[in-house]
Amino acid sequence: MSEQILLRARAVIKKYGSFTAVAGVDLDVRAGSVHSVIGPNGAGKTTLFHVLTGVVPITGGTVHVDGQDISRLPGHQRVRRGLARSFQVTSLFQNLSVRENLRVAAQGRAPWDVLRMWPLPGRADDAVGVVDGLLARFRLEQVMDRPAGLLSHGQQRRLEVAMAMAARPRLIFLDEPTSGMGVDDIQEMKQLILELRQEGYAVLLVEHNMDIVMGVSDVITVMQSGRVLVEGRPDTIRNDARVREAYLGSMLTGGR
């Protein structure tokens, strides 16, 4: 894990009308690290994700990637800055084949290339190379010609994460990647996140499964009511009295 800070958010505020969902959050994500954001429901984790990835406009504060201000950049342009995300609720192109889902996602790095009319989607190039690698890695080769809408839930979750990786990002936002997964798939996802870190990706993870969060994170940020409650390494967080009180204790001691 390097000390270089890839994403730096300062005093991020997001208001929906009079409701403040995120009330001034500072966040530093180091290159190549796994950084988890946890907190009770309604703490503002997903909203923070939306603001950082540009899905919703920021109300106040700044977001820098590699020292460049991206606070006001539309979401689709942040992909070219090396950000990519998966969705909490599986969000695929239902009627396109698995292969095309990945190809379309891989092409997002250079979206206007699609205007070159002559090459057909199957043409071999960078994007297609990336797709082949991802199909193998996420064990989707068997179903690559099937429409994404017809996959099993586990396969859809894998495709969901694979699509985030297709744009070859430096920082991947994973929004509850294990939601609705079976036990075996969860272990696999944990393994995958560890692999991503080894390969030099930075991961920003929102997750409810404490086993994964404690097992893979370099840094954990605990949010409550739109603010950062505490931030630290997993063992610090586990033993922090405030965190135990606020939310974690009951889950760690199995009293949920």
Partner: protein, 332 residues
Amino acid sequence: MKGYRHSLFVALFLLLLPLGMKSGSLATELVIYAMAACACNLLLGYTGLMSFGQGIFFGVGSYAAGLLLLHLGSSLAFTLAGCMAAGACVAALVGWFSIRQRGIYFVMLTLAFAQMFYFMAYSMKEITGGDNGLLGIQRPDVTLLGHEVLDTSDPWAYYAVAACVFLVVFTLLQRLAESRFGHTLLAIRDNEARAAAVGYDVKAFKLLAFVVSGAVTGLAGGLHAMLAGIAPLSNIEYHVSEMILLITVVGGTGSFLASVIGAAVYVVTADWLASFWPRWLMLFGFLLIAVALYVRQGLWGVLQDVSARLQAWRTARAAPSSAPERHPGRQA
């Protein structure tokens, strides 16, 4: 490749059409509506945009053709290019505002634009001829390097021109739909949020689809003005938008071929029914309700369903004879 097979089918259809139609004008009308429906399908079927503004582009194309021919006496090729350009420009304008909204609000905006352009055409009498439209439009001949190649005053000769133009447009649209651009549109139709999240400027892509659709619809409108010899006010009426959408939805949104089928059914049925049943449009009302309720894929979906069942029936019929061979030992 699917696209080329469809183009081939359309070529065959256009060649055989004269055998089944009673007049060249009717056949040409079919081709023109098919073109407009294909353009509508690009938005509805491939991008997920239900536009009630197609009549604007059709009308603007008609006026452009009328003005170019009446005032400049332009050549056929220049006129067609002018119609496309006019359609594309107006579509860019309408699209620019409409795609800012989604769902029902998008539909309402296109509807509002349709009304606005209608009243504009109605009130700008010096340019559009107002209620009367532009009259006395002469069809230009097909020329090559200043030499006359084809005299288009004969309805069937003009049909040949329209059919050739349509075949080219159809092939290009098919090509567009199968290209990466087309697949990006499909992705946007399926899931806008995800398309934006993986890096596509959804609004820009929608606007591009709009401009292409506007150009093709404008071309259809121009061809119609030359067919009728007038550019009437009714060509920019809201009813044209409705008719184009009707043809597209009844035909089906899965393929451009579906739009050709939709136009053929519409034109033939309308011509036949109108001769003895003045309320014939009601039938299309019922057809639309039936499609909305039972066959979301339109007539094209029905055809695909029938062919799939035929296939299944054939394999089922072939099965009994081959089944015993699979386990020859067990019978013995």
